[in-house]
Symmetry: C2
Subunit: 210 residues, 2 copies
């Protein structure tokens, strides 16, 4: 269309807002907004305010920096969890992923990113000093580094390791190897090489495939 692409400025405005989200183009946004117009006033009101309320009221847990409705998140304030183990992760989605496995009952520490000089992210942009404080408090027995196995993850692992290696704690990292259900033929060389080098007693795998 010539001067005006949409028949209504209000419609155009709503489309432009929705298209700010990653992966949502103008065509998809148009389709979604036209769908939304059919909702009741109350439903649209509820939709729009949910994001504003989230942004205004959501907090970061003062202990682990996970997203939370309270000063301290539900995981950190759960007394049935082992507060001697900290699992260090990049972001809150990783917390959710690990929680889904039901294999971990300790606490987390959310870094808020990975060290990436290319993106201008240095150690000071992450919650590493807060992690060191937590470890310094003395209650921690083990730190698990559960970061992505890419360049940024390895750099961050190594940086944190050097900062905390003198504390009287054990430091581990998540096992790397061939994924469950993967075919050896299609596994990359580095992963396969590491999985052979770090082979483990067969008995230890009993019960893994639950």
């Amino acid at each position: 269309m010539n001067s005006q692409e949409y028949p209504s400025r209000l419609l155009e405005n709503a489309i432009n807002e929705l298209a700010k989200l990653p992966g949502i183009g103008k065509k998809t946004a148009l389709r979604l907004v036209l769908h939304m117009i059919k909702w009741s006033n109350e439903e649209v009101e509820q939709f729009g305010t949910s994001f504003i309320t989230l942004k205004n009221e959501v907090k970061r847990c003062k202990v682990c920096h996970n997203i939370s409705d309270n000063e301290t998140c539900d995981i950190c304030s759960n007394t049935s969890r082992d507060n001697g183990i900290i699992c260090v992760v990049e972001n809150i989605r990783d917390v959710m992923s690990i929680e889904h496995t039901h294999q971990f009952n300790g606490l987390y520490h959310v870094l808020g990113g990975l060290i990436s000089p290319m993106d201008g992210i240095g150690p000071a942009d992450l919650t590493i000093s807060s992690l060191i404080e937590r470890i310094g408090s003395g209650e921690i027995k083990e730190v698990i580094l559960a970061l992505s196995t890419n360049m940024e993850g390895e750099t961050t692992n190594f940086y944190i390791y050097r900062k905390i290696k003198d504390f009287p704690i054990s430091i581990s990292t998540i096992a790397r190897g061939v994924g469950f259900g993967d075919e050896l033929e299609y596994t990359d060389e580095i992963t396969l090489g590491r999985s052979i080098k770090n082979r483990m007693p067969f008995e230890k795998t009993f019960g893994d495939n639950h």
Copy 2:
């Protein structure tokens, strides 16, 4: 996770709202909401209110039922357009599609759907009586039926045709045939058959491929 899938009720609420949109699942909604959290308060406010404002303030043009910011839409109130021709379409997206072609300078009539007994949509649910009133006003010379070429479209075409055939107007429908760029080999039989039956003088196609 056991009782709680997300670390925050506010987050969960925003995710559930976003996942009400068609084609957006919980995982996508989570990704989008976590992206949104990084926006400034003002940006989120602007995002959320854009939908509420749209819902509260957008109007339907009283002439053609297109979506509009005013009582009468920009197309109907544009005096440089031919108000003797009405193009009947299913919805406002069709208006936008036809406007994009720059091949039509008349007015529109938005039905708001197609007759579909299966979905419980009858003629009274559409703006057909309002179309008949417009035609009855006497200024209309031509009505173009530009509906989808499926069963519902054909039914609606035929219903409208019977209602308006006695007015002193010409009634046309959009040309059906092989689409531009289509290969004959992959064109369905009905389309190909019709395109041969309704063949047109070759000179008329000059300038079509602009």
